[in-house]
């Protein structure tokens, strides 16, 4: 039982997923929310790697997917931060609850 199995990894990734969700739903700071999304993506990454290693080791689908997720996450973060900076210029704040001018 000393060996770390698939279940352990899945538990970790699931926890990470929900932590990410929780963070996204509760943190007011936009950057922190973005980081929470990264957590979600990382939990996905863990999933892919774990599945690849434990269940389907003969192909590298999962690993490749992970590589792409990491890359895209970076791109996404770049654009998101750019947008947030632009938003900050208007609102002088990056509290997500301040940006609620459009509603109903």
């Amino acid at each position: 039982m000393n060996e770390i199995g698939l279940e352990h990894l899945l538990i970790v990734s699931t926890c990470l997923f929900f932590i990410g969700i929780y963070g996204f739903l509760t943190r007011r700071n936009m950057i922190t929310m973005l980081m929470s999304v990264e957590l979600i993506l990382n939990s996905v990454n863990i999933n892919f790697i774990a599945f690849n290693k434990y269940l389907f080791p003969d192909k590298l689908d999962g690993v490749f997917f992970t590589v792409f997720i990491i890359t895209i996450a970076a791109a996404e973060a770049a654009v998101a931060i750019a947008i947030i900076i632009n938003l900050y210029r208007h609102y002088k704040s990056i509290d997500v609850n301040d940006a609620e001018k459009m509603r109903f």
């Binding site: 997923f17 990410g20 996204f24 936009m30 929310m33 973005l34 999304v37 979600i40 993506l41 939990s43 996905v44 999933n47 892919f48 774990a50 599945f51 690849n52 269940l55 389907f56 192909k59 689908d61 999962g62 490749f64 997917f65 792409f68 997720i69 895209i72 791109a75 996404e76 654009v79 998101a80 750019a82 947008i83 947030i84 632009n86 938003l87 210029r89 208007h90 609102y91 997500v96 940006a99 001018k101 459009m102 509603r103 109903f104």
Partner: protein, 469 residues
């Protein structure tokens, strides 16, 4: 490899070529005349659209990562067409815009992403296409850099789409875990209906639902539509949605064929919610873009109604409707874009007495809205009829009844706009607006399309033929 490599991916190559040409022009920096550049770009887009008609073959590339056939080529060309129209309508906005070329680069990049998404044969390709279309789109939403609403909209869009794609990715990882494959061709046989797979279906569906603005995943839609520049709103409501619908039809439905019941039930709930909530919110909107956001949400409900039947006929109906929807929605957006660019007015009340000053544009709005509402003799009537017929083929008359009654509700708000334009008096109506050639062309195409698409069964038959190939 070889010539096939270029022919099968011709749409993508063409787009990339255009993007690079524009990039070179930008980097070179010598051409500053927006008007000429716009003419040039539009010609390029028109050529691109025409290219879509030639040498459509089916085949696969990259170890079945990328696949195409004449149906997919046709779908891509619908998007090409819509993009061309949007580009024509953006003329007024762009002719003095200093980031005109960036606009086109970003726009075409998202289109490229959608093409990859539609052609994807693998979840990885699909994910890449999805993000390639989503990320630049967020930037486009923020294109009015100095407008507060624009950046708020972009923020909402980028955060939520990241969140949505995170959840969807989690679903994809689970599907990988349960089947060991990401290949669309292999997956259907491996999906057996275990609980985990139901979970993945739901997670993946939410990703789509987010993009399609299915209730209750739709909440970003109205805000983003309102904040984004009109041209981008049009693009979001037409092209982006159409692309997802195409993927839904050609990829997701066959993929989860083993989970038909769950799939249908999910759709059932979503359809009812989407149609009703979309309509209820549309009734009370003041801003015309926001209004169109909710109306397009309701329209999506109708599209899903057809998709829920899952037959070739119903898919034909969905695609046929999307074409009609594209024509009609772009008809309205063309006028709105013009008015917004010329006067900055975007509220419904501003359109009071519009018909007195701009009769031709008034008729464009009326005809387009009638088409959206499904009133004969416009093509919208046929589109809606086929959607509902497709929905009824499944035998669920409750759904059909709700849809039919909601057509009445939707008629109410469409007629309210028509009333505003035609009937309501106004002391200070919008001044007579001169239209340019591009806009005339685009609106002309839309109106002719709205009138004749329904009467001539050719287009419908052609789509049906493509499905049976």
């Amino acid at each position: 490899m070889g010539i096939e490599f270029f022919i099968l991916m011709k749409s993508e190559w063409a787009l990339m070529l255009i993007i690079f040409i524009l990039l070179i022009i930008k980097v070179n920096g010598t051409y500053q005349d927006n008007a000429k550049l716009l003419l040039f770009t539009n010609i390029l887009l028109a050529l691109n659209f025409m290219l879509g008609f030639v040498s459509n073959q089916s085949g696969m590339l990259f170890n079945s990562m990328f696949h195409t056939n004449s149906l997919i080529a046709f779908e891509k060309n619908i998007l090409n067409f819509a993009t061309l129209i949007i580009s024509l309508q953006a003329y007024t906005w762009l002719k003095n815009h200093k980031h005109m070329l960036e606009y086109y680069m970003l726009l075409l990049t998202t289109l490229l992403g959608m093409f990859f998404m539609i052609s994807s044969g693998n979840f990885l390709m699909f994910y890449l296409g999805l993000e390639l279309s989503a990320i630049p789109l967020a930037a486009l939403v923020n294109f009015d850099l100095d407008k507060l609403k624009s950046s708020e909209a972009a923020m909402k869009m980028v955060l939520l789409s990241a969140f949505a794609s995170g959840i969807m990715l989690f679903g994809i990882s689970m599907i990988y875990g349960t089947t060991g494959s990401l290949n669309f061709a292999e997956l259907p046989a491996l999906i057996t209906g275990s609980h985990l797979q139901i979970l993945t279906l739901i997670f993946i569906f939410t990703g789509f639902a987010f993009k399609l603005s299915v209730v209750p995943f739709h909440l970003w839609t109205a805000d983003v539509y309102e904040g984004a520049p009109v041209s981008i709103t049009a693009y979001l409501s037409v092209v982006s949605k159409a692309a997802i619908v195409f993927v839904l039809i050609s990829t997701l439905s066959p993929l989860f064929a083993g989970l038909t019941t769950v799939w249908y039930n999910i759709l059932f709930i979503s359809i009812i919610l989407t149609i009703i909530v979309g309509n209820l919110f549309a009734i009370r909107q003041q801003n015309i873009k926001r209004f169109l956001a909710f109306s397009s949400i309701a329209q999506v409900g109708f599209i899903l109604l057809a998709i829920s039947a899952g037959t070739a006929l119903s898919n034909t109906a969905a695609i046929f409707f999307l074409i009609v929807y594209t024509l009609s929605n772009l008809g309205v957006f063309g006028v709105i874009a013009l008015v917004s660019d010329e006067t900055g007015k975007e509220n419904i009340d501003d359109y009071k007495g519009f018909y007195k000053t701009n009769p031709a544009l008034g008729w464009v709005i009326a005809l387009s809205l009638f088409s959206l509402a499904g009133i004969p003799p416009t093509a919208g009537f046929f589109g809606k009829m086929f959607l509902i017929t497709a929905g009824a083929s499944k035998g669920s008359y409750i759904l059909v009844g709700i849809a039919a009654l909601n057509m009445v509700v939707s008629l109410y708000y469409y007629l309210k706009i028509v009333k505003t334009v035609f009937i309501d008096p106004n002391e200070e109506p919008i001044v007579p607006i001169k239209t340019n050639m591009y806009l005339k062309l685009s609106l002309g195409v839309c109106m002719i399309g709205i009138v004749i698409t329904g009467f001539t069964s050719g287009l419908y038959d052609y789509i049906y033929l493509l499905f049976r190939l």
